[in-house]
């Protein structure tokens, strides 16, 4: 039965193989494994099963998941439900892409190389940056790498981050920063409008500041209104300005390149990738066209060149002397396997949407966001959003005015087939009973109205 995936597991072929090597038993080829550590028992794992049985078994288990197709889900916070056009699946399931690996041999891998170059190029247009690598694991790991890159570029060790950042992302940052001796310091944000406290920033920025990081839109959905001032403050001190984004916002929101970002990172999942329970995702990593930045970039980068005879345009991986397989312990990062297929999906997605699509989609999301804010504000005891600022896609909903407890609200919503926003009570206690809600083009106005009426019923009784 195993010859299906092991074509040489026939009596005849096994015999031929053994004969050619002059061995009687395959065990002879394992004879150099010391007796003491040879496994004598059979591994205690299930299987083997036929294809039909595997499918049934896995489907049976997976049925215990409830999907956002069965439920209306208002969760975001780093992974968001967005529609994935059919073309994206068609292209990314092409065997020539799916079953290839890192294009070490460029002549036979022009397809993935050109596609990744196009991903880099299109993401640069969205971000208003010049150079992007062809993927990191996710936003969080991009942030960790950005802090380390800023420290290498500036030879400084302080990295400033906003107070309102995803605690998970912050945790990853700390894990990346600590062994490099980078000191992560929090910048205050105003409780009223969420804006960066510029006085606090000025006080904390100094000659040892490697970089200042902000997110726009922020983790809690509000927009940062003083990005240019922040950029000026960090640049005056000789540090790098690093901005984290949700790329889907950039059809309607100002791109970070236009307000002075040196490095831009973010989560590329909304660009044609499914949520997949949180992975794989797509870490965006881009910088300005400056040699001192490019040389310190982590990850694979594809460049456009020509064939040696100069006749044809061609693509290949470039600046590999930054990478682990050449530079070993002096590499800019240890990353090898990345998220290339997710980047390919993002390339197809960006090509489909094109110049106008991001604006159109952004307008839809903005309109859904404000429709939700307007509708939910009508409920007694509910404050939406918590912060007096402009919001995109995500917004805070505060229930302090209501007598119900936070956990109860989400449980009751679930009884109605709705997954409520992410509770922030533990993450940011100063916000009280606050949840982070998310709406995208996947949410209909009816979904929002239903959320309102059920919430109203729960809170007003």
């Amino acid at each position: 039965m195993f010859t299906r995936y092991l074509p040489n597991d026939t009596k005849e072929v096994r015999k031929r193989l053994k004969k050619a090597m002059d061995v009687k038993d395959v065990e002879e080829l394992f004879s150099d494994i010391p007796e003491e550590i040879r496994l004598t028992k059979t591994l205690n794992i299930p299987g083997p099963l036929s294809e039909l049985e595997v499918k049934r078994e896995v489907e049976k288990i997976l049925k215990r998941n409830r999907t956002v197709k069965d439920l209306v889900c208002f969760l975001g916070a780093g992974v968001w439900p967005h529609y994935v056009p059919a073309v994206v699946d068609e292209i990314s399931s092409r065997s020539e892409f799916l079953t290839s690996y890192t294009p070490y041999q460029p002549e036979i891998s022009q397809g993935i190389l050109q596609a990744l170059f196009e991903y880099q190029s299109m993401i640069c247009e969205l971000l208003d940056m010049d150079v992007a690598n062809c993927s990191m694991y996710d936003w969080a790991s991009s942030l960790g790498e950005a802090a380390r890159m800023a420290a290498r570029v500036t030879q400084r060790d302080k990295f400033l981050v906003p107070h309102y950042i995803s605690p998970e992302r912050l945790r990853v940052l700390n894990v990346y920063a600590e062994p490099a001796g980078i000191n992560v310091v929090e910048i205050k944000q105003n409780l009223q409008d969420g804006q960066i406290d510029l006085e606090d920033l000025k006080e904390k920025v100094s000659r040892d500041t490697a970089g200042v990081y902000i997110e726009n839109p922020s983790y809690l959905g509000f927009l940062i209104d003083s990005s240019e001032a922040i950029s000026e403050i960090v640049h005056d001190a000789g540090g790098l300005f690093i901005v984290g984004v949700d790329p889907i916002s950039l059809g309607v929101l100002r791109p970070p390149g236009s307000y002075g970002a040196d490095i831009v990172i973010g989560e590329g999942q909304p660009l044609g990738n499914y949520m997949n329970g949180g992975g794989p995702l797509l870490g965006i990593f881009a910088c300005k066209d400056e040699d001192y930045l490019i040389r310190q970039m982590p990850g694979r980068i594809v460049g456009m060149t020509t064939t040696q005879d100069g006749k044809d345009r061609a693509f290949c991986m470039v600046l590999q002397t930054r990478e682990q397989h050449i530079r070993r312990h002096k590499a800019t990062s240890n990353i090898c396997t990345n998220e290339a297929l997710c980047a390919l999906r993002a390339a197809v997605y960006m090509a489909l949407l094109g110049r106008k699509g991001f604006r159109d989609l952004g307008e839809i999301i903005l309109s859904r966001t404000y429709y939700s804010i307007k509708k939910l504000s009508e409920i007694k005891g509910v404050r939406v959003p918590f912060f007096e600022a402009y919001h995109f896609k995500e917004f805070t909903v505060n229930f302090d005015g209501s007598s119900r407890s936070v956990q109860n609200v989400n449980r009751k919503l679930l009884e109605h087939g709705i997954i409520g926003g992410k509770p922030l009570t533990h993450e940011f206690p100063e916000l009280g009973q606050t949840f982070l809600y998310c709406v995208t083009e996947m949410h209909t106005l009816r979904d929002i109205e239903r959320l309102q009426s059920i919430l109203k019923e729960i809170l007003e009784g």
């Binding site: 068609e90 690996y101 070490y104 022009q110 945790r171 992975g279 345009r313 312990h329 090898c336 110049r355």
Partner: protein, 510 residues
């Protein structure tokens, strides 16, 4: 020998196709009156708005489809042909696993959904972690790392946390790594703040024990080892290595990139390793996706369980849940829980193979490698320098050093000429201890006919090298493009990393 021809589409860069006002999408209509009411009620200041649309191409769906289909035809994967890229385990990826990974229950779940709506995902993760622990002889696994190198970083951070807890981190600054190790090992050790000490390989192709004894000291934090190593040789003195490192107070880290060869035969846990990472995209047959995504689970022995990243997936007898209460956790090395779309494929693969199938996979991968090694080492100009007479495991490293000195043809040229025959080239110039190295891993999924054909291709390249090297020097001839100018590609004056950079440079030259 019949040669192959790859598609050669004269395909422009995507920015060069399309036409103004074309789109390749459609979204639900925007309610205009709602939009204007909102714009009146919540007027967003222009300083927050994008002024100019991004300079993206404007394409209809058919143009996008054709463009990327053509690009796909100028690419080469395992489903196209033999892909013996050493240390990358490019085995066939069963289609059923892709079908399962595209179910709605995989694609359309949000990681922050209540646990009782994610029981399916958590069960898969919990069980896979148990199975991996059984396969490797470890005690507990985390599936969080996104790739092998991400797993290595996790592992080296655990080594750091372990010594820190014992108050020895100040002193234990060194990680010992053999000179034949994957480049990610020293890079990961360095990222975790360690200094790297390199130990040489002896003539048998194994860690030089005398050198190792000299290298260990009270400064030793740990050793990172691949077994079988990158020469495809089993480190048969592993128990002595284990003793030397443990007695010095260091931890043993197992790079699981080469686990495929020993499935069901021996286990890193039984060899004495404290920490293990696996590459699900290699050993457990998930597609490599043109460079990723992969998945790099990390497993530990009992004494290191409390250092694993959070959250861990646990089972209370009734429900699967996420456990964030791990006393000395290193924290997180990426967002969320792991690459579930990859994890689910490995889960299905193990169910398909079972213990018997995995063991057979190891056996046949080793049979195939030794069979091919014996054929190739007889070809003029080639030999296998380390561990003469020793059986190889899943891979071996061929050197064409003699071919180079006798004909001028290098490993690079041999690899380029191979492409003309419709096979992917091996890993070249690695490990660096082998001159003119071609690192070859046929895997267990390759039929003998393909392996024989590969040997014939190499024999033909050898003949060509001695008789008529011109054609090899100009290879490849049959791929979508000829030899790519990689030096120019990385040269500061001609560096072009995006279409935007290209336009800037083009304007300058105009």
């Amino acid at each position: 020998m019949k040669e192959f021809h790859q598609a050669r589409w004269p395909e422009p860069v995507i920015f060069e196709i399309g036409s103004q006002d074309r789109v390749g999408y459609s979204f639900p209509a925007l309610n205009e009156s709602l939009r204007s009411t909102i714009a009146d009620q919540y007027p967003m200041p222009s300083r927050l708005r994008r002024e100019v649309d991004p300079d993206l191409p404007e394409l209809s769906e058919v143009e996008v489809m054709r463009h990327f289909i053509r690009l796909s035809q100028m690419n080469f994967g395992v489903n196209n042909g033999f892909y013996p890229l050493g240390s990358c385990t490019m085995k066939y990826n069963p289609k059923i696993n892709d079908a399962i990974a595209s179910l709605d229950e995989v694609h359309w779940i949000h990681p922050y959904q209540p646990e009782d709506t994610l029981q399916g995902m958590l069960e898969v993760m919990y069980k896979l972690a148990l199975w991996l622990a059984e396969i490797t002889g470890m005690s507990k696994f985390s599936l969080q790392p996104a790739a092998g190198a991400n797993g290595e970083f996790t592992g080296t951070l655990m080594i750091r946390a372990y010594h820190k807890l014992n108050g020895e981190l100040e002193q234990r600054r060194e990680i010992i790594i053999p000179d034949s190790a994957h480049g990610t090992n020293p890079a990961s050790a360095s990222m975790a703040g360690f200094d790297v000490v390199t130990v040489p390989t002896d003539e048998d192709g194994c860690v030089d024990l005398e050198a190792l004894k000299e290298a260990v000291s009270s400064r030793t934090a740990g050793l990172m080892l691949t077994n079988p190593n990158t020469l495809g040789i089993f480190e048969n003195k592993i128990l002595e290595i284990e003793k030397i490192v443990h007695e010095a107070g260091g931890l043993l880290y197992y790079d699981g990139a080469n686990l495929n060869a020993i499935l069901g035969k021996t286990r890193p846990g039984d060899m004495g390793f404290d920490i293990v990472h696996l590459n699900l995209h290699k050993t457990f047959s998930t597609p490599h996706g043109g460079g990723g995504p992969g998945s790099g689970p990390v497993g530990v022995k009992e004494h290191l369980e409390d250092f694993l990243p959070v959250p861990l997936v646990e089972f209370d007898g009734k429900h699967y849940y996420l456990n964030y209460k791990v006393p000395h956790t290193i924290g997180r090395i990426k967002g969320f829980y792991g690459n579930f779309e990859v994890i689910i494929r490995a889960f299905a693969y193990i169910l398909t193979m079972g213990a018997e199938g995995l063991k057979k996979a190891a056996e046949i991968s080793v049979l195939n490698a030794n069979y091919l090694a014996s054929k190739l080492s007889r070809i003029r100009g080639f030999d296998i320098p380390y561990g003469r007479g020793k059986p190889k495991k899943h891979e071996f490293v061929l050197s064409c050093s003699r071919l180079k000195s006798e004909t001028g043809i290098s490993a690079r040229e041999v690899s380029k000429r191979m492409l003309d025959y419709g096979v992917h080239a091996p890993t070249i110039y690695f490990p660096s201890i082998v001159k003119e190295a071609l690192m070859i891993e046929p895997t267990e999924t390759e039929p003998i006919e393909e392996i024989d054909k590969f040997a014939e291709i190499l024999a033909s390249i050898s003949r060509e090298s001695y008789e008529d090297p011109e054609k090899i020097l100009k290879a490849p001839h049959n791929t979508s493009v000829g030899r790519v100018d990689e030096v120019k590609a990385s040269h500061p004056r001609t560096l072009c990393l995006s279409w935007r950079m290209f336009k800037k440079r083009f304007k300058k030259t105009k």
